[in-house]
């Protein structure tokens, strides 16, 4: 329960910090860190415009997407405190419930009958598909390392291993951070600030959403950021007492947000037609973690 509340709190300022970092690095003062939330609240109060082509799918998809993110957040633990949902193999549930949301966002983009949105939908489906094995190999390696298969048990028992497991933690951070970028369609996979429909991925999928639905989708993105941030925080948290865990959690979230901001300020995006290969290469980093686990367990002789 505590992790759920913390993630929701972190989601309130996460994108704000990213935007602020980006403004500062580009020499602007920039908006306050709660500005994205204010925008979302304003959107929630607005009316909507629907395309004549769309059907019921377009109406329900944002709600399903939002619900799937909420369900996924419930699975995330905080150090040794379990999430609301915790059972053996819960990370499979986590990945598949996120899949439900993605499925509906893709078909809702196709529902508009637009050429651009289909393009975005196709890219989203392709990129998230290639990111899938990276996540599963990562979690499989941790399951092998710790002998457990639920998020909470894996994270809680990772810290009793030798120090080499922290190196794995660093690699895992990289994999999870990249998955975050893919799932949230940020640089280097996609540029949310691009102005040409042809080069967008996620933004182009929600071109026709407006009002309350758009607000929900945008807020879901913030939640997703905080959710992956929480996963990364969990990699290093171990079994601290609660008064240390909470500041540590927010520390990691803020650091992660600043890192994303810096990354977006100083790197260009990948070439669109090579994105798939870049993402697939992420699986090889996961495989590196797998090899590291084999070394720790002494299976490689």
């Amino acid at each position: 329960m505590i992790s759920f509340i913390l993630i929701v709190l972190a989601s309130l300022f996460f994108t704000g910090i990213i935007n602020r970092t980006k403004s500062i690095t580009s020499g602007r003062k920039g908006p306050g860190i709660f500005q994205p939330m204010k925008d979302i609240v304003r959107l929630l109060k607005k009316g909507s415009v629907y395309s004549k082509t769309t059907s019921i799918i377009f109406q329900i998809a944002p709600s399903i997407y939002f619900a799937s993110i909420i369900m996924a957040i419930m699975v995330i633990p905080l150090g040794e405190y379990k999430g609301i949902i915790s059972f053996e193999g819960d990370f499979v549930f986590f990945a598949y419930i996120l899949g439900v949301g993605k499925f509906f966002m893709i078909i809702s983009a196709l529902d508009t009958g637009s050429s651009f949105e289909g393009m975005g939908a196709s890219r989203e489906a392709l990129f998230s598909m290639f990111a899938e094995p990276a996540f599963f190999i990562l979690m499989g390696s941790f399951a092998l390392l710790t002998g457990h298969t639920s998020f909470q048990e894996i994270f809680a028992s990772m810290h009793f291993g030798p120090y080499i497991s922290y190196i794995l933690g660093v690699l895992a951070t990289f994999v999870l951070a990249m998955i975050t970028m893919i799932e949230n369609s940020r640089i280097p996979i996609d540029d949310p600030k691009t102005h040409l429909e042809l080069t967008m991925v996620h933004e182009v999928m929600i071109l026709d959403n407006s009002g309350f639905d758009l607000g929900m989708i945008l807020y879901a993105t913030n939640l997703k950021f905080a959710m992956y941030g929480a996963l990364i925080a969990n990699l290093f948290m171990g079994s601290f007492p609660l008064y240390l865990t909470i500041p540590f959690f927010f520390g990691i979230q803020i650091l992660f947000a600043i890192a994303v901001g810096l990354l977006e300020s100083f790197t260009a995006r990948f070439r669109m037609n090579h994105n798939a290969q870049y993402i697939l290469a992420l699986s090889s980093v996961s495989l590196l973690i797998f090899l590291g686990v084999l070394v720790i367990l002494g299976q490689l002789n």
């Binding site: 050429s115 289909g118 309350f212 639905d213």
Partner: protein, 666 residues
């Protein structure tokens, strides 16, 4: 009622149906078929439920000429498959009543069709019942032939006929392997009974005989590279037949593999490794092809291959468990495989039925000609959507339950000893994940192209929602699917009871399922329910908050262009193009077009066509067949069309046999 009577009824009822259907008036043939299917199903289901409860049903007909003793036997494995067959056939027969109405002019053809349907169901049931090799081959053959004749219902169509004959030939290659296997056992043990196979396994190497059986059954099941009949036969058949074929006939290959596995005595590990690798590749290959094809039913057929791969991963896991003495792994692998067998028969028949409804209304299976059907056929769209989600393994539907079992099995297998198996498990984990990813791409593409957006071509007749007769069985399947998704524990315990009967008790430990596993399985049902509730809650909050908000209608954003046409839409082909391009060494695209020449200042109108070829068919089998045909040319002089020569061959043969017997050579 005594069991033997029920057994005889299971033979007599279909026979009665086959005799009576041609005599009945034309208008009630389909309904009569449905009633007979139901009767046969009731009779056999009683036996099956008895067997599931633990009372194995047995009947032995003694001393028949060549066959020896023929034993009929329903154990819990047969019972599980009998129930799946009955469920799918009842749905198929009911759906068929509505679906075949469009062909009401072809009277004799229809009459034959319904007779064959009964024979088809009965032969599949018998396959699960008989325990004698020779009888098994006969009923297996009956099943293949009746399904072949069902496939070629539309036999005036050349492609249908070609697909049918391809199917027939491939099935007989399969029978060849099975026959060889049974004969091998006969020569070594002197009996065709299945118990003789067990005797054979305990005294000989298991590997080769098993592989022989595996190839025979694998052709039916559609493991690569033996799958090439599937994507041809399924689109050719009428939709309720494709539903039943993909739902069950393919699964009887799985039944055969299971039957032989439970007789095995050794070599578990090497067989497990072979099956897992083959299955992961089958799954990847199947779904990759499904992603690029534009024929709706061909896409579904390739997707069947993918699901056979998923089932195979479960079988392989179970075998590894048997070899390592890890009974929990056996349970997870085999229950995952058996439950996925049921699940797949449910959602695949649902998908084929809804594809059939689309075909009936639009007379095309080409996705690129469709679009926006959700406006005219909302319920069919919902069926397809739910089937698509379930087949992708998305909660809260049933596909997730069996995939979760397999994931749990793999995660358990990861802890096994030895780097080979650990790597194998990581390989299948990543494989299963990527299969899930591509299947999401495949089904968002199909659903989006067929049902969403605006119509891509002008249809001659405006489509409308199909009749209630065609919708009812789909609702029925939907309810069962949801029940598995929301209450998985019950189904898991049923399948677990089947599996635990067949596991040889390794190292004397009694088989107990850990509480945490049971908890996990009930948890996925519980949380799937929670997800549904949350979803409804959010939707209603949205609805109540936005009630006052102004709503406007406009056209889709087209970069400021205000009169978009349906040609602007993203096509299914382009949706999956980037995937196909990345993996163009596996999915072979064949394009036909004429490049614009340099001297052509005013280019004339031209055509562009592209289609995807099956890698194994084009790169391997076609080449072998070409060589074979070429070399067989040299023997043409034997078949010279001269009838006197043929009679001479006969005389040669008789003389040969005569001399052989005289000199005791034969």
């Amino acid at each position: 009622m005594p069991d033997s009577l029920l057994f005889y009824l299971a033979i007599l009822l279909p026979a009665a149906g086959i005799i009576s259907i041609p005599l009945l008036p034309h208008s009630i043939k389909a309904k009569a078929n449905f009633i007979f299917v139901c009767l046969v199903s009731t009779v056999t289901s009683i036996l099956a439920v008895k067997a599931l409860a633990g009372n194995y049903v047995e009947l032995i007909i003694g001393k028949i000429l060549v066959f020896g003793n023929i034993s009929f036997h329903i154990d819990s494995l047969s019972a599980w498959f009998i129930l799946i067959i009955n469920l799918t056939c009842i749905n198929g027969a009911f759906y068929g009543i509505g679906y075949m109405k469009q062909y009401h002019l072809q009277r004799t053809n229809l009459s034959l069709h319904w007779m064959l349907f009964l024979l088809f169901q009965a032969s599949m049931l018998w396959v699960c019942i008989v325990q004698n090799g020779l009888t098994f081959l006969i009923v297996w053959e009956l099943m293949s032939i009746s399904s072949f004749l069902l496939v070629i219902f539309d036999h005036q169509n050349k492609t249908t006929l070609k697909a049918g004959i391809n199917y027939l030939v491939q099935m007989h290659i399969g029978v060849l392997f099975l026959a060889a296997a049974f004969i091998w056992v006969y020569f070594s043990e002197g009996s065709y009974e299945f118990s003789a196979i067990e005797k054979f396994f305990s005294s000989n190497t298991n590997l080769w005989l098993f592989l022989l059986f595996f190839v025979g059954f694998g052709i039916k099941a559609g493991f690569i590279p033996l799958h090439s009949w599937l994507p041809q036969a399924h689109p050719a058949a009428p939709s309720h037949i494709s539903g039943v074929m993909s739902g069950v006939i393919v699964k009887l290959g799985i039944y055969g593999i299971f039957r032989i596995i439970f007789l095995l005595k050794q070599d578990y590990i090497v067989l497990g490794e072979i099956i897992i690798i083959l299955s992961v590749l089958t799954g990847l290959y199947g779904i990759l092809n499904a992603a690029v094809h534009r024929d709706l039913k061909k896409m579904l057929a390739y997707c069947t291959i993918e699901n056979i791969g998923i089932i195979g991963i479960g079988i392989g896991l179970g075998l590894l468990g048997m070899g390592n003495g890890n009974s929990l792994l056996v349970v997870l692998g085999f229950t995952g495989a058996l439950l996925h067998t049921l699940n797949h028969s449910l959602f695949k028949s649902l998908l084929f039925f809804s594809a059939g409804s689309v075909y009936q209304q639009t007379h095309t299976r080409d996705m690129e000609r469709l679009g926006g059907l959700i406006n005219w056929m909302p319920q069919t769209a919902m069926f397809f959507l739910i089937g698509a989600m379930a087949i992708g393994g998305l909660p809260p539907f049933n596909g997730f339950v069996s995939e979760f079992l397999l994931y749990s099995g793999i995660l358990l297998g990861i802890k096994s000893i030895g780097i080979t198996h650990i790597t194998l498990m990581i390989f299948s984990l990543a494989g299963l994940a990527i299969i899930g990813g591509i299947s999401m791409l495949t089904f968002t593409k199909s659903f989006g192209t067929v049902f969403l957006g605006t119509p891509r071509t002008h249809l001659h007749q405006e489509p409308k929602e199909v009749s209630i007769i065609m919708r009812l069985p789909q609702y029925f399947i939907l309810i069962i699917m949801l029940s598995i998704g929301l209450f998985p524990k019950f189904y898991f315990l049923v399948v677990n009871a089947i599996v635990s009967r067949f596991i040889p008790n390794i190292s004397g430990e009694s088989l107990s399922i850990p509480v945490s596993l049971i908890n996990s399985i009930s948890a996925i049902g519980k949380y799937a329910m929670l997800f549904l509730l949350l979803l409804i809650l959010i939707y209603f909050i949205r609805k109540s908050l936005t009630r006052e908000h102004p709503v406007a209608l406009g056209s889709t954003w087209g970069c400021g262009y205000a009169s978009p046409s349906s040609r602007f839409q993203y096509t299914g082909k382009s949706f999956s193009k980037s995937l196909g391009k990345l993996l163009n060494f596996i999915v072979l695209e064949k394009k036909k077009f004429k490049e614009i020449g340099t001297s052509e200042i005013f280019p004339a109108e031209r055509n562009y066509s592209s289609h995807y070829n099956d890698f194994f068919a084009v790169r391997i089998f076609d080449k072998i067949v070409d060589r074979l045909l070429y070399s067989l040319n040299y023997f043409q002089f034997i078949q010279n069309g001269n009838i006197q020569m043929y009679i001479l061959y006969g005389i040669f043969f008789i003389v040969f046999v005569f001399l052989g017997t005289v000199f005791k050579l034969v």
